[in-house]
Subunit: 344 residues, 2 copies
């Protein structure tokens, strides 16, 4: 397992983000070549065939495997909730962490249904971040602690990692991350979250714009972006994304907040998310815009907007099936199936 960096040294952490391993192109090529020999018309499994090659490239394993699926959910609170950006009170973050522990949340049921392990990480004992409309949400030491916690949550023996979050107020943080990283108007990135009405969304966009104005200069640096707007749980997601790459565990991202956290890393390395797939496109409007900016094609589009890795884990069921087909299917030669008219 790749050693973690010294999280007291911001430069070492930035280098850790920038020096992740690339794809195993040989493993991907072997996988693609095998696909053509399996008992189906060429390309007939569509996107599943590409998923097998992607798994092989980032696991560095032939055949790739997607049996051990781990879900890591990161929870955190946000000082910006004081600005009235969510219809739910901040107390819900802790209540939902208790619900995860008791097995009562959606992600618990989907873990059982798909067959996945779950870990839930309450960051900073759920103390809120600072209100980002007055400056950075996280102090440097808080940012590093959160990224370290995210990195430590990655099981090196997982075949696939699904990332999710829980944090009242974090679609506001995500919108600020996107506005800080990619620009545009605050309205482009601001949506109803857990259920704001149109007037509430308009007020939220003003808060997002104020947060970005209060943190000018953060846009060009992924770590500064995460400190400015992150929230503890979003910084943890970024740490998990980087560590998963180092230990060769491909990642499925969930919704808007999760993807925005991961996107901050692209300010340090444009290819930082090459080992990630977008599990789904959520109903939060900023998410589709963000996926387009990242060039990521979501696997599912079911109008979900829950977070907690629910969309990522449903997509993991597809990846699991893709790997099962790739590893388990007979070849034309072995099964005695004619591959095309005139050939056998």
């Amino acid at each position: 397992m790749a050693a973690l960096p010294d999280f007291a040294d911001t430069g070492a952490v930035a280098a850790w983000v920038r020096t992740t391993p690339g794809p195993d192109r040989a493993a991907a090529a072997v996988t693609t070549a095998r696909e053509a020999t399996l008992t189906k018309p060429a390309g007939a499994l569509g996107r599943l065939e590409g998923l097998s090659a992607w798994l092989a490239a980032w696991q560095g394993r032939v055949p790739p495997r997607a049996e051990r699926i781990h879900v890591a959910v990161f929870a955190g609170n946000h000082g910006v909730v004081a600005e009235g950006v969510s219809p739910f009170p901040a107390a819900v973050t802790a209540q939902m962490v208790a619900n995860f522990a008791a097995g009562g949340a959606a992600i618990n049921q989907i873990c059982r249904s798909v067959g996945a392990t779950l870990s839930v990480h309450a960051l900073a004992d759920l103390r809120p971040s600072a209100n980002m409309t007055a400056g950075p949400a996280l102090a440097p030491a808080e940012l590093m602690a959160a990224m370290r916690a995210g990195a430590a949550a990655v099981p090196a023996d997982a075949d696939l990692l699904c990332l999710g979050e829980m944090g009242i107020g974090n679609t506001t943080a995500a919108a600020a991350l996107c506005l800080g990283r990619f620009g545009g108007r605050a309205e482009d990135w601001t949506g109803p979250g857990t259920g704001l009405d149109a007037a509430g969304v308009a007020r939220k966009a003003v808060v997002v714009a104020r947060a970005v104005a209060a943190n000018r200069g953060a846009g060009g640096d992924g770590l500064a972006l995460l400190a400015a707007f992150g929230g503890h749980e979003l910084a943890a997601i970024a740490g998990a994304v980087v560590q998963a790459r180092h230990v060769r565990v491909p990642v499925l991202l969930d919704g808007f907040a999760c993807t925005a956290a991961a996107a901050a890393l692209t300010a340090l390395d444009p290819a930082a998310l090459a080992h990630c797939q977008a599990g789904h496109a959520s109903a939060e409007p900023g998410h589709r815009r963000l996926l387009e900016r990242l060039g990521m094609a979501p696997l599912l589009a079911l109008d979900m907007r829950l977070g907690e890795a629910s969309g990522a884990l449903l997509a993991a069921a597809l990846v699991k099936a893709a790997a099962a087909c790739h590893a388990g299917m007979a070849t034309f030669a072995k099964a005695g199936v004619s591959s095309r008219a005139g050939s056998t």
Copy 2:
């Protein structure tokens, strides 16, 4: 279990198609009401919430269940293959049936991955149907035998049925079914199937047009449509769709050939597919057009074009998760989670 009709009596079979039970609206209403009490923002599971209500309506069960998933694959041969409509020889149908039995096909792997049982039904001992360019593909007794076999393949204790097919030449039959049922141009419904080039697709469209011309008058009657163009395995799929409705087993349809077979039933009952969902939109271009005509929104769109229920079964994993969330999630009240600001 609902008794099967007398398959020697075409009128009785038509009545069996027309007199299927409707939805259990009370079960659906109870399910929708419970969704609003579960620990997530209202509507946050998106399409999954609708799937739970759909399951409840057609199972007549509260809470609905999607644990016992059965996959029925129907195989048949087509006389129209003599017209050169497929790059694969007809012998592949039998070879793939053997591959299913040996566990080497994609559907075998996906059954293991998702957790489903599989039955494979080789219709008419894989004797080909008649060449539909010269008149009906199936004699009346053949049609009835195939529909009976399809009906008999439905396990009444399944929670969910995935339907698929294997039959070299059957995207040609499906295109003729669609042209006969919905009209338009042969080119609208004709695609590459297992891998024809553009010239091959153009030749195939001519064959489709000839088949429809040779079977004028079949369009207004679902049974006549299936006899004219069906192929044994497509008639079996239609029989399975009807029987599943009678025994309250919701259905996931697979790709173009499977959906075209089911669509023939809408000529007898416009609501014949209300207990069915489109598992996916395949890469075969006629499939999306057909789903639009039927008003069905596919659950997945992964550019698959394999048949054998592979897309339907991947969608079943989503339905299984939807039912698991519905039945297993805690309510706001039970979990002590605040539902909105100011309320608990």
